[in-house]
């Protein structure tokens, strides 16, 4: 086993110093991507498997692209329609892949804790690319990177996360990232779509998380507002009367953002349902950083892959 091997399973337990280094590394990789050649083959010879048990476009492509940009060889494995359908367990599937000589597994799975489970059993490094309704740590990092670029620091900032927080791994990872960097996070949605005891669950000792069902309250004075997709595939039928009912009260519109800071930024992890959780005129407005989020995803994942293989991400990019 590589003694320097690391896993990125969640942002909750990731030390702030490591998170900061990853974000600095991502910044360095942004410059690599902007330079001619757009490549830094520091992981040449490293074999990466993207194992996706749930449908994904942007995250899978982003990881594939990031792996190639750092010189690793990546294979993608969509677990739907494979031997998984024949009853093979998650562990057996990944053991099979590991036997082929993989160094690093990027896992997306519908079950919370799936990446932790794999990490306990595998020699290879594990990167959590989304586990059920738990965390999506690279998304949280890219959200933080996207806000750090214009702001420089998140300290003292107020960030509202609006929508289906209960089923959102993005919300959990973003909350840990933002609060560890000194921001205050307001989680907002209908009570039926908020996690029980959310502030206690996700709040750091400084109490930097608050919860409200009122969008106006959440948006008031916000420096940034993140809209979340309704995860209807994870809901019980009574979680939501209808998407229209949600839209009536929580769709981000210019009018509803009036209480936020004048230069407040708007984020969305994608995929967007335009007109449901976010109005098109907001998604496409100058305050929207949604496209920057996607672009930053590649740089963040380059940094994460290097870090998992024991490299310092800043040095790797320089």
């Amino acid at each position: 086993m590589n003694a320097a091997r690391r896993d990125l399973l969640d942002l909750e337990t990731l030390p702030i110093a490591e998170m900061t280094r990853l974000l600095e590394g991502a910044r360095a990789f942004q410059r690599v991507l902007a330079a001619p050649g757009r490549k830094k083959p520091v992981l040449a010879g490293t074999a990466v498997a993207n194992v996706f048990y749930e449908a994904s476009t942007r995250t899978r492509v982003s990881f594939e692209w990031a792996a190639r940009r750092v010189g690793a060889e990546a294979v993608s494995f969509a677990a739907t329609g494979s031997s998984v359908g024949k009853g093979e367990s998650l562990l057996d599937t990944v053991w099979t892949l590991e036997s082929m000589g993989l160094d690093l597994v990027v896992l997306r799975h519908a079950s919370s804790g799936a990446a932790h489970f794999l990490a306990r059993h595998l020699e290879a490094s594990v990167v959590n690319a989304g586990d059920g309704t738990h965390e999506h740590p690279t998304q949280g990092l890219l959200d933080a990177r996207t806000l750090l670029d214009p702001w420089g620091s998140l300290a003292g900032r107020r960030i509202a996360i609006v929508g289906d927080v209960k089923h959102s791994r993005v919300a959990r990872s973003a909350t840990w990232a933002f609060t560890k960097l000194g921001a205050h996070v307001v989680l907002c949605g209908p009570t039926a779509l908020l996690p029980a005891a959310a502030a206690e669950a996700l709040g750091d000792p400084a109490g930097r998380v608050s919860v409200t069902a009122s969008l106006a309250e959440a948006v008031e004075g916000a420096d940034a507002v993140m809209a979340l997709r309704l995860q209807t595939e994870r809901m019980e039928s009574s979680n939501l009367p209808s998407p229209a009912d949600f839209t009536r009260r929580y769709r981000l519109t210019r009018k509803r953002l009036a209480g936020a800071k004048p230069d407040a930024l708007v984020l969305h992890p994608g995929p967007m349902n335009r007109g449901v959780e976010i109005a098109s005129h907001v998604a496409d407005s100058p305050r929207s950083v949604i496209r920057a989020q996607v672009a930053n995803g590649v740089a963040v994942r380059m940094a994460v892959l290097c870090w998992c293989r024991g490299l310092d991400p800043v040095e790797a990019a320089s």
Binding site: E12, G113, F117, L202
Partner: protein
């Protein structure tokens, strides 16, 4: 001299029915209790009894577990009647009541008799059958309850699945009352559980796991207590885990509703924090709750609201438990840790005196199932010798159960069964175990009698 004739000396005899714990000898002849105190020694020689010097250990009626899953028939990879009863006697239990959620379910007289025969063949702990309230535990219609009682069933339950239909439960209680047997309710509102996998609260929200609210149990308990009041039937509430259910049971008993309740050692010792790290060996239903619930369950035991301790022993195979949290089945084993966990967390922790803890494992379960008190002269000698001070560390690889799914692996406990006797025959002896501590620390056995 035969292997069912014993004189126990230097034993602290626990008589939980009388509430006493004092040095007293006990004579067992041909498997039956014959005499206590001075009379025991007087008659021992004539009977040719083997003398067992307990060296101050506690001799008690054998423990009774009213809630175990023996998995046979149909799930023998998890447990069999033989391995389950071997685990039972190693834990100090002389009787267990098995739940009917086997495959097929224990919903026909022939299956009840088959289990009883298999248990007799195993020759370890006694097995009492709790038969299914509804065929296949489907909750659709009543089983042939009278025929099941004739075949030997001592109670009815659809444990593992609640009887969601209130009208059906009412009639089940009425028939149970007519037949003189209790209904053991698995009180859970499935619509409130939904896809929940652990206790609803901050831990579940942080782990991104769907929660099971306390109301899921409390509302179901409230319904069944009202139905017990309505029908006058004997209701027993299985695996109470919430403060609300303890409170509902306390109020119902105060107004004379014929209801009792049990809780399990894990609800006494653990909270939902044990699920951290997606620990599937801390996943059971009802789930480990919050600290306030744990405290309420202990208070309920201490004030006599919860009169029974039971394990809900639920073995699963390692491959079933070694899964993603949501995919792993509910349930943990308990027979071989139950006594140690409850003595450690109740008696040694100063929350209940030792005789009260033993009463919850002996007197109240026997009353529920209609079993005789082994300490009454003439009764079959179902006994356990306990060293309440013995320190040991849980090692699941030494379990007799096939199940390794315990949340107590590596826990340091105080209190253990040294020997177990069913009808006077010794069916477990810690001394004979390969991992037994130094023999000098154990009770010694000498051959008494004159021949």
């Amino acid at each position: 001299m035969n292997d069912r004739t014993w004189l126990f000396v230097n034993a602290r005899l626990a008589d939980p029915a009388a509430g006493t714990l004092a040095f007293e000898d006990l004579l067992v002849v041909d498997g039956r209790v014959v005499a206590r105190g001075a009379a025991a020694r007087t008659h021992a020689a004539a009977a040719g009894a083997r003398t067992l010097d307990a060296q101050g250990a506690v001799l008690a009626p054998g423990l009774v577990d009213v809630h175990v899953h023996l998995r046979e028939p149909g799930q023998e990879d998890k447990e069999t009647i033989a391995t389950g009863t071997a685990a039972a006697v190693a834990g100090g239990f002389t009787s267990v009541a098995c739940m009917p959620n086997t495959s097929p379910a224990l919903d026909e007289p022939g299956r009840v008799r088959w289990v009883l025969e298999r248990a007799a063949q195993a020759g370890l702990a006694r097995v009492h059958v709790i038969a299914a309230i509804t065929p296949g535990l489907a909750g659709e219609r009543l089983s042939d309850m009278a025929a099941l009682v004739e075949a030997g069933a001592v109670a009815f339950s659809d444990d593992g699945r609640p009887v969601m239909h209130g009208g059906l439960m009412r009639h089940a209680l009425e028939y149970a009352r007519d037949l003189g047997v209790p209904i053991v309710t698995h009180a859970e509102d499935l619509t409130l559980r939904g896809d929940g996998t652990m206790n609803e609260g901050a831990v579940a929200s942080r782990l991104g796991l769907s929660g099971i609210p306390n109301a899921c149990e409390v509302t179901a308990v409230a319904r069944d207590l009202e139905l017990a009041a309505l029908t006058g039937a004997r209701l027993h509430v299985a695996h109470v885990s919430t403060a609300g259910a303890v409170d509902a049971l306390r109020r119902a008993r105060a107004r004379g509703v014929p209801a009792s309740g049990e809780t399990a050692p894990h609800y006494v010792a653990l909270t939902d924090v044990a699920c951290d790290g997606y620990e599937t060996n801390a996943k059971m239903n009802p789930p480990l709750r919050a600290e306030a619930d744990r405290a309420a369950v202990i208070a309920g035991l201490a004030d006599g609201t919860l009169t029974i301790l039971a394990t809900d022993h639920a073995p699963h195979t390692p491959q079933e438990k070694e899964r993603e949290f949501a995919a792993a089945p509910f349930g943990i084993v308990g027979l071989e840790t139950a006594l140690g966990v409850t003595l450690t967390h109740l008696a040694h922790a100063g929350r209940m005196p030792l005789p009260a803890v033993l009463a919850a494992w002996t007197v109240a379960p026997r009353t529920l199932l209609g079993l005789p008190d082994p300490l009454v002269p003439g009764a079959e000698a179902d006994l356990v010798l306990i060293d309440p001070e013995r320190a040991w560390t849980v090692d699941r690889d030494r379990f007799r159960s096939k199940g390794r799914n315990t949340p107590f692996q590596g826990h340091a406990l105080k209190g253990r069964a040294l020997g177990t006797w069913v009808a006077g025959r010794r069916v477990f002896e810690l001394l004979a175990e390969p991992d037994a501590p130094a023999a000098a620390a154990l009770p010694t056995i000498t051959t008494g009698g004159t021949r």
